[in-house]
């Protein structure tokens, strides 16, 4: 069976250091420029909440469905949804279609851009010291989430046991 890897995002761990944005922009442009990064930390300063957002490389990608010229396709080697700029006509419909903000407009080229998983070794995950962004096997990510939930519950166990 083919295993799929995904970028597992955990807002609970994200501290808004934005090293993922630096790493992403440098991988793609050899320039440290968060505004060109394909991963972005959305920040609510008032509530001190930081949420990393990036393309989920969906199984049924709305961006792909929205594209009239079939410029978005899945890279078989990495599983990433990528853009063929020879075909892209710049209509931005993929940008509109994605409900997660997984596609952004590059402020320099003004073209749509998206995560390409750095050819299989995503730098955002590599440099995230808090592990708020991890590149893991999809099934493992699921187990990790369950375990995190379990650990929260297990902290309450002594209380439950007492009764």
């Amino acid at each position: 069976m083919k295993t799929r890897k995904l970028l597992a995002l955990d807002p609970g761990k994200c501290t808004n250091c934005r090293i993922c944005e630096l790493a992403c922009s440098f991988y793609h442009y050899k320039s440290f420029n968060p505004r060109r990064s394909r991963i972005s930390v959305l920040r609510n300063d008032e509530k001190c909440v930081s949420i990393p957002t990036v393309c989920h490389h969906c199984d049924r990608p709305l961006c792909q469905e929205a594209c009239a010229v079939e410029a978005i396709y899945r890279d078989e080697a990495t599983g990433a949804m990528v853009i063929d700029y020879d075909k892209c006509m710049g209509c931005n419909l993929c940008f509109t279609a994605c409900p997660f903000g997984g596609i952004s407009i590059d402020p320099l080229s003004m073209m749509v851009v998206k995560c390409d998983l750095c050819d299989g070794d995503p730098w955002c995950a590599k440099y995230c010291v808090r592990k708020a962004v991890e590149y893991v096997r999809a099934d493992k990510a699921g187990i990790q989430r369950k375990r995190a939930g379990f650990e929260k519950i297990s902290k309450l166990m002594p209380l439950i046991m007492k009764e």
Binding site: I19, F32, N33, R35, C48, Y127, V129, R130
Partner: protein, 649 residues
């Protein structure tokens, strides 16, 4: 536009607030080569552009905002910027650094520095969007706190990701130690940069940048970054850093420092606080912290947000508090109510006030009150007995509004004691006008030399040494020789401490120019001059900085120039002294019980190591020439403030 070196925007902005003009100027490449960035740039600019004896709150004073080559380029803990000006609090070199996200944004907008001159007729703020720079009216923001101001500026420019540095009421009212607040909770706190902004009618600076930073040798640079990543995840300091700073933030130090008897308590009466546990990092973490936060591009991430949910201070919500705020507003005033401290910290953030100076001004008032120098009437009816948390928060409101006693305390302890007289000078804990930061030199002797010689007054961030504090024998042996290491690691010995202070001052000068945080350099000691030598060449392309000797030379150039700024303002050896309390009153309790600080031998060592005259604390011409400051020596010679070394001495 191309600049000779990478890591720089290659351009700076000159803003004349009087004329309402701004000009983009190319950054001279010699500035980068000789002064690196940050504090180095500021030193050169203020030396060249300020006339001696300029009134700090006059339009003639200049205000510098600068970043360094590392800013915004993934370097460790490099999301910073610095501000410098002649300080209204001290009348000498003023400088303050700040984390958050503003610094990198300034670089991305295409500027290594902004220099403000003059004074605007009406309140304005500066909006920088890449090449687009404009003044915007700030009349409607005048009087607003830093949180409201930040939010409103973002709304007005229509981008919530715009980074804002602004002043609150304290800066507007020219409180001498007003801070500049960035991203709500990060402060350029010390030496009153907020008052300088206020005096210029400059409410805020908002920036947005899309330009990015390139490096000279991407592959080699990323190798260094991979090493940094290793150090912060698997290296020997990764776990210690995360289990202390990462877990508790800087308030972790409350317990650590109390244990060595160095926690300033009761206006420096002692260094041991019996209620330290009540205001410790552990208490804040377990009862008040709601979120972890980080400055831009940091792997240590010591920032937190804390709240108070119930009681007298319910509704308190702010970033921090940092160790320095907890000690200044807590143990220093004998306030053991952590909720009062959290509330006071929030007020300081909203008004834009330096928590250290504020705490020290309040403890000064409390000690004057105890000794009957300050009556209840003079205290506006407040009960200023030690430990009164309500009086603490009430005084912060008064200071920001310059109301009653607050107007006096807004002058700083030196100014307030001069106005008050009656022997209150004895309780004014400052050096060169700056209130003393959270250390006590009776328990950690090198701190005496650090505080006395620090270029901005009694402060730890220019040269505090952790080598002796933590007993890093290997680092001591490596840097100063095996023969000296044991003595250096003795916290209570003055011997060789002048040398380590000079060494730390060099390190921090270059760190403050490359622009990284003290965390990672001061503690944990991951990055020393050799790291800078590894970082700068692939970052900037200045290969000469691959040599530690060259890095040291640049550091000495910057240190000397900043000190020369103070010499030009009239500072001599008699100003580089400690308040009598540290020299004459033995530590009453704690681990350093019975100790006093013997400053003179450390000062002698320091000046000797700096190549300055031990008797007068004036520079020798040959020292200035060696570090490339001949023209500075020539200028000082006009007033007889540079000396010729007597051969053989």
């Amino acid at each position: 536009m191309t600049f000779d070196y990478k890591g720089y925007a290659g351009q700076y902005l000159r803003v004349d607030l009087t004329k309402g003009e701004m000009k983009k100027e190319p950054l001279p490449s010699w500035m980068a080569k000789h002064y690196i960035g940050g504090t180095g740039f500021a030193a050169r600019v203020l030396w060249d552009e300020l006339k001696p004896q300029t009134n700090p709150l006059s339009p003639e004073n200049s205000l510098v905002m600068a970043v360094g080559p590392a800013t915004g380029a993934l370097s460790p803990s490099s999301g910073r910027f610095m501000m410098a000006s002649k300080s209204p609090l001290t009348g000498i070199w003023g400088e303050s650094h700040c984390g958050g996200h503003f610094g990198p944004e300034l670089k991305y907008a295409g500027y290594d520095m902004i220099i403000f001159h003059g004074r605007s007729e009406k309140p304005v703020y500066l909006y920088v969007d890449d090449d687009w720079v404009e003044f915007k009216d700030a009349s409607h923001l005048w009087g607003k706190d830093t949180k409201e101001t930040t939010g409103q500026v973002r709304e007005e420019v229509g981008d919530e990701t715009v980074k804002v540095s602004c002043i609150g009421l304290a800066g507007e009212n020219l409180v001498k130690y007003a801070a500049v607040m960035t991203d709500f909770y990060r402060a350029a706190g010390r030496t009153g940069m907020g008052a300088v902004m206020g005096s210029k009618n400059l409410k805020a600076v908002a920036v947005r940048g899309t330009k990015g930073v390139e490096v000279a040798d991407p592959e080699r640079y990323m190798e260094v970054m991979d090493e940094v990543l290793y150090q912060n995840t698997e290296g020997p300091w990764a776990e210690p850093a995360q289990s202390s700073l990462g877990t508790y933030g800087t308030p972790n130090l409350v317990a650590v420092i109390n244990a060595i008897g160095r926690l300033p308590t009761k206006n420096h009466w002692t260094g041991y606080y019996e209620d330290a546990e009540k205001i410790s990092g552990a208490v804040i973490r377990s009862k008040h912290r709601v979120a972890r936060d980080s400055c831009f591009s940091c792997m240590i991430q010591c920032k937190y947000v804390s709240t108070v949910d119930s009681g007298l201070y319910a509704g308190t919500f702010s970033g921090g508090p940092e160790y320095e705020s907890v000690f200044a507003l807590g143990s220093n005033c004998l306030v053991n109510d952590i909720e009062a401290i959290l509330h006071a910290n929030m007020l300081c953030n909203l008004y834009g006030i330096d928590t250290i100076s504020a705490g020290k001004c309040i403890s000064f008032a409390m000690e004057c009150y105890e000794h009957g120098i300050l009556s209840e009437k003079e205290a506006d009816g407040l009960d200023l007995r030690w430990g009164n948390g309500e009086a603490l928060t009430a005084l912060i409101h008064k200071i920001a509004h310059r109301e009653g006693l607050g107007d006096l305390l807004a002058e700083g302890v030196r100014g307030a004691s001069q106005r008050m007289g009656k022997g209150s000078e004895e309780f004014a804990m400052h050096i060169k006008g700056l209130e003393i930061s959270g250390q006590d030199c009776r328990a950690h002797k090198s701190v005496g030399c650090t505080h006395a010689t620090s270029v901005r007054g009694a402060d730890h961030l220019r040269s505090l040494s952790c080598i002796d504090e933590q007993g890093f024998y290997e680092a001591a042996a490596e840097r100063f020789g095996v023969d000296k290491a044991e003595e250096i690691c003795n916290l209570l010995s003055e011997k060789y401490k002048g040398y380590i202070v000079k060494d730390q001052e060099d390190l921090y000068a270059v760190v403050d120019s490359v622009l990284m945080c003290k965390y990672g350099t001061m503690w944990p000691p991951m990055y020393y001059l050799d790291f800078i030598a590894k970082l700068l060449p692939p970052l900037t392309g200045m290969e000469e900085y691959g040599s530690v000797k060259e890095v040291r030379l640049a550091a000495e150039r910057i240190c000397n120039l900043r000190r020369c700024f103070n010499v030009r303002e009239g500072i001599t050896r008699k100003d580089e002294d400690l308040p009598p309390r540290f020299k004459e009153e033995p530590m009453p309790n704690g681990r350093a019980k019975g100790e006093v600080c013997n400053l003179q031998p450390m000062l002698d060592e320091y000046y000797e190591a700096r190549g300055w005259d031990e008797a007068t604390a004036l520079p020798f011409r040959d020292t200035l020439e060696r570090v490339g400051l001949k023209e500075v020596a020539d200028q000082l010679e006009l007033t007889g403030k540079v000396l010729k070394r007597i051969v053989g001495k």
